[in-house]
Amino acid sequence: MGNPTKGGGVEHASYTTKFGSLASFDKGGVDLINDDARHYAFSNIFEVASKSQPWEKVAVAKNFEYVLEVVRAEGTSPWSTAAHDQFAVCMDGAITVELVKLADSPLADDAEGSVTLGGEPEGARMGKIHLRHGHQALLPAGSAYRFVTAHPSVLMIQTIAGPETQFRWAEICQTV
């Protein structure tokens, strides 16, 4: 219970933190008074992932060249790489990240976004990371990486828009 000598009120003995998932999510929205809903580009990560093909990189947020991509993780992904650091947050499920130090990156140093590599990467194995709900991993610049899941899971990637980034705002966002 709360301490009345602090804030002065009484609190519950425990609280339940609500997260979303592929199996269960609840979506809010924009109540318009004097505006256009499209200015807010309002979407939901789990709804986007539930309608995506495995490993598609769907932008849910964009600020100039930067994006947040949502990825439906299912099975084993192709190997990808980027010339800059990226960060992957496991929003639902469990995902293993495999990392290889690319001997020879196909990308220029200033290339933006991630690209899929054909076949197996050549280079030293860097190791593996086992992510669960709410965990965030570094995908280091110049590494090759792939994701492996036993069950459909959801990733949010902090990155830059690249040739494989999918923009489908009209499909994913509130429009009226």
């Binding site: 933190t17 580009a41 965990h135 923009f167």
Partner: protein
């Protein structure tokens, strides 16, 4: 006053409630048991001292943040990244039309020191402006000690990512960050790492949700990862955002847990534009021509996503870039 020819002054003596008065340029600040009194050449204003100190704490801790920090519908600051405007009525339609709005521009170190001095003198031992109302005592009353450690918390800012060797580290009981009472049910397990020898510095991950569950402050975005100018600035929110944030660029919110409701108003006039409800997994942009204030009934996890590029405010102010994030 201690001096007449400098931009910031602190009164020599205290008032009957034990507080100093301060001046910054032509602005004057006084407090008593319940209120702050702000005056400037064309007007004056009162605010609850509780709301004022919570807002002042954010403005100081964020070093004036991005764009406009409105303390309420009248008073606030505009960051020009090197200098800061301090204003009254500047973003209030009625004050503007009456030509009673007033603004001064100061070098950032000058206003920073003035605001820090006010915060230090007016925050009593019983009050932590970063805490939720349930977690702290009151701001009211006559002068009663100070709370310097609470108001000078070190701002967390990862260079690459939290948990990378040499960068910001995860929060633990041992480092003084117990799990918050609203997040006792958040899994505290960390990712399992299997680095090959020599790759320990690059095979790195951490539990973002556990990290946030141990935050001891509210409404205080701080960087956990950086992809060039793209900054993940998650924060834990409870009760009301103590400021109304006016954007000079688009910022994005990703609601990681629970729910926040946002009141969105026109940035320059305060006219209502919308009300946004965000639930776990929702993503929403805040356009560059609005201001917003959030309400979080239970402590929640919010990812604030910023583009730190210094080129953006000018691109948007000059109309070369749109005020909304995407065209569709």
């Amino acid at each position: 006053m201690t001096a007449t020819n400098i931009q910031v002054t602190t009164s020599d003596s205290v008032n009957q409630d034990g507080y100093h008065a301060f001046t910054l340029g032509e602005f004057e600040f006084r407090r008593d048991e319940y209120f702050v009194y702000i005056s400037w050449p064309t007007g004056q204003h009162m605010m609850s001292i509780d709301s004022f100190l919570r807002a002042l704490q954010r403005d100081v801790a964020w070093d004036f943040f991005y764009g406009i920090v409105n303390f309420d519908g009248v008073f606030g600051t505009v960051n020009h990244y090197g200098t800061v405007d301090i204003f009254a009525g500047r973003y209030n339609d009625a004050y503007r039309k009456a030509e009673l709005d007033y603004s001064e521009n100061h070098e950032t170190p000058v206003i920073r020191e003035a605001f820090k001095s006010i915060l230090a003198d007016w925050t009593n031992a019983t009050f932590d402006p970063f805490a939720s109302p349930h977690e702290t005592g009151a701001a009211w009353g006559v002068k009663n000690g100070d709370n310097i450690s609470a108001i000078t918390r070190r701002r967390v800012a990862a260079n690459r990512m939290v948990a990378v060797p040499g960068d910001e580290q995860i929060r633990t009981d041992e480092s003084g960050f117990p799990v918050n009472r609203h997040f006792k049910d958040v899994d505290q397990g960390e990712p399992i790492l299997e680095p090959e020898p020599g790759f320990e510095d690059e095979v790195v991950a951490f539990s973002l949700f556990a990290y946030l569950s141990r935050s001891d402050v509210t409404w205080n975005p701080s960087v956990v990862s950086a992809c060039k100018d793209s900054l993940f600035c998650p924060t834990t929110e409870e009760y009301i955002l103590p400021i109304i944030h006016g954007n000079d660029r688009v910022e994005w919110f990703v609601q990681l847990s629970d729910q926040i409701t946002w009141d969105v108003e026109d940035r320059d006039t305060g006219a209502v534009r919308s009300r946004v409800t965000m639930k776990a997994g929702d993503v929403c942009a805040m356009p560059a021509d609005i201001r917003h204030q959030g309400y979080s009934p239970k402590r929640s996890m919010l990812l604030v996503w910023e583009n730190n590029s210094s080129k953006i405010p000018e691109l948007i102010a000059s109309g070369q870039a749109p005020t909304y994030p995407v065209e569709f």
